[in-house]
Symmetry: C2
Subunit: 304 residues, 2 copies
């Protein structure tokens, strides 16, 4: 018997993916930000995703439950954003100790609804169980025009790497208060050759693109947008902290100028150009400010 | 502050339903066996449902995980059956202590896949978190022809009540080993005027039909199909035990003879005629073997 402590979360999910059968309606199964499925004849593909927030793992026991609701809904919307999709319907499985109050649940739903409302998505049901610790499992259905989902597996050598915002230090507040990059994701459907949302840290999430696209990458230390207020080792935080919920994506080199122009007309915050896709499979390099290049060996947050 | 201990699960779910916004694509929201949504122009409506099985609540700590997988997938399929739908895609959120093994997860997925395979449904992704107790949250998407979902709210006075199988004592084995009544549910789309799956007990689940349809009912003690092997108080077990995962449904009085004939041609196990819908809203009566009639006051399993 092999204890789960010997495996990373990614290794366990990869193993599970091997046990899952496929069929003709499954366009993209386990292993990307969401599954992509064909549900009906028509102009759209559909996205399915799920994510959990658990007391003691993803939020502190005394945390404001509106913020927990914001995070729980935001995580699945960030997955949908990373495919280029729009969110439609959600289901919520709540696990809650009986000592909690109805007002606690009301606060949680205030946070969930407030996060979803700007994106036109609604919760349509779910389940409730009496157990501890408190946890919120959210399932979401999204959609996008047929064949337009932006995958992790389609980056090409010389494609240029971008992120949508600053990285690192999310634990201070952003992991509970972020707004998912749904609008940016939909815009990027026309530009990005690959995309992922940053939930486990830049280095670890970029490695998903590299391994699934069978390419390498170099990122420029001086280009990485580090979050304000990170005093110690800001680069390490930007590379390895989880839960930034920004989008990391690649653009064809020939499209870069037009992309930057179109982006700046559509959004106030810049898309930051941080590096380039290279040939050597799964090799992740950092070009430092002093001109030297080194390999990035570590990873971001790992659950097991 | 009002502790959740003061409320039943139904009361909490009713309250949550009040906090949920609606939109034009939502045909039937929280409160039925599944939500019914419009996803695209086309011939079908889509069903969304979620359910959890939690160690210590829905299964014993040392339970065979193949059976736990069978139950976890079976519960959402039973919800889809109760609308008359077919199951398509599932997502699985796993919560598992790090002390568990990869073989444990493999066994769980064997059970999940074995339950889904006969119905052509597949798991397309999910999430895994390191926490205790072990729990499996399953989300499912199903479909059925537009406008044909069989709701809880559409029973009419004089409709006749049926169940698909024997009731009570599920805790001995059936709650882990059942096969959801998907085929029967699809067949019943053409006959049933209302339907629910029996997860919380005949009395409690029938009350959902009564309150949502604003009707009452009488059931015949001698007609109730009691599970074999129930030695003490078999009637109480049949009325109040949870997790039978049979379908409870109503048929128009004029259709009963044709329905029984069609059913007997389609299925080996009989649909059992147990009672009738009456006028007095939410009044649930039991006509006893001695001819006397009494009110059924108790309820089935309640989680909080």
């Amino acid at each position: 018997m092999s204890s789960l402590k010997e495996y990373t979360e990614s290794e366990i999910l990869d193993r599970i993916a091997q046990w899952l059968p496929s069929n003709a309606q499954l366009i993209c199964g386990a292993g990307d930000d969401t599954a992509v499925v064909q549900l009906c004849e028509g102009a759209d593909d559909y996205l399915l995703t799920s994510d959990a927030v658990i007391e003691g793992v993803h939020f502190e026991p005394m945390e404001d439950l509106k913020r927990v609701g914001n995070k729980a809904a935001g995580r699945v919307l960030s997955d949908i954003a990373a495919m280029g999709g729009a969110a439609l319907f959600l289901m919520v499985d709540l696990v809650i100790p009986a000592e909690r109050s109805l007002e606690d649940i009301e606060q949680l739903y205030e946070g969930l609804n407030a996060q979803l409302n700007p994106f036109g998505a609604i919760i349509v049901g779910g389940d409730i169980s009496n157990s501890a610790p408190f946890q919120v499992h959210v399932f979401a259905v999204g959609k996008l025009p047929k064949g337009t989902a932006v995958l992790r597996s389609t980056a090409k050598v010389k494609d240029q790497l971008f992120v949508t915002g600053s990285l690192g230090g999310s634990i201070a507040a952003k992991h509970l208060d972020f707004s998912p990059r749904i609008k940016e994701g939909r815009f990027l459907r026309d530009w990005a050759t690959s995309m992922i949302d940053l939930s486990d840290g830049l280095a670890k999430d970029l490695r998903h693109i590299l391994s699934q696209s069978d390419v390498g990458a170099v990122i420029q230390e001086q280009a990485i947008p580090v979050s304000a207020g990170l005093e110690e080792e800001p680069l390490a935080h930007a590379l390895f902290d989880g839960e930034d919920y920004e989008l990391l994506f690649t653009v064809k080199p020939a499209d870069v100028d037009a992309f930057i122009k179109a982006w700046s007309e559509a959004f106030v915050d810049p898309a930051v150009h941080i590096g380039e896709i290279r040939e050597v499979s799964e090799e992740l390099l950092l070009q430092k400010k002093d001109g030297q290049t080194c390999k990035i060996e570590g990873e971001g947050y790992s659950h097991f």
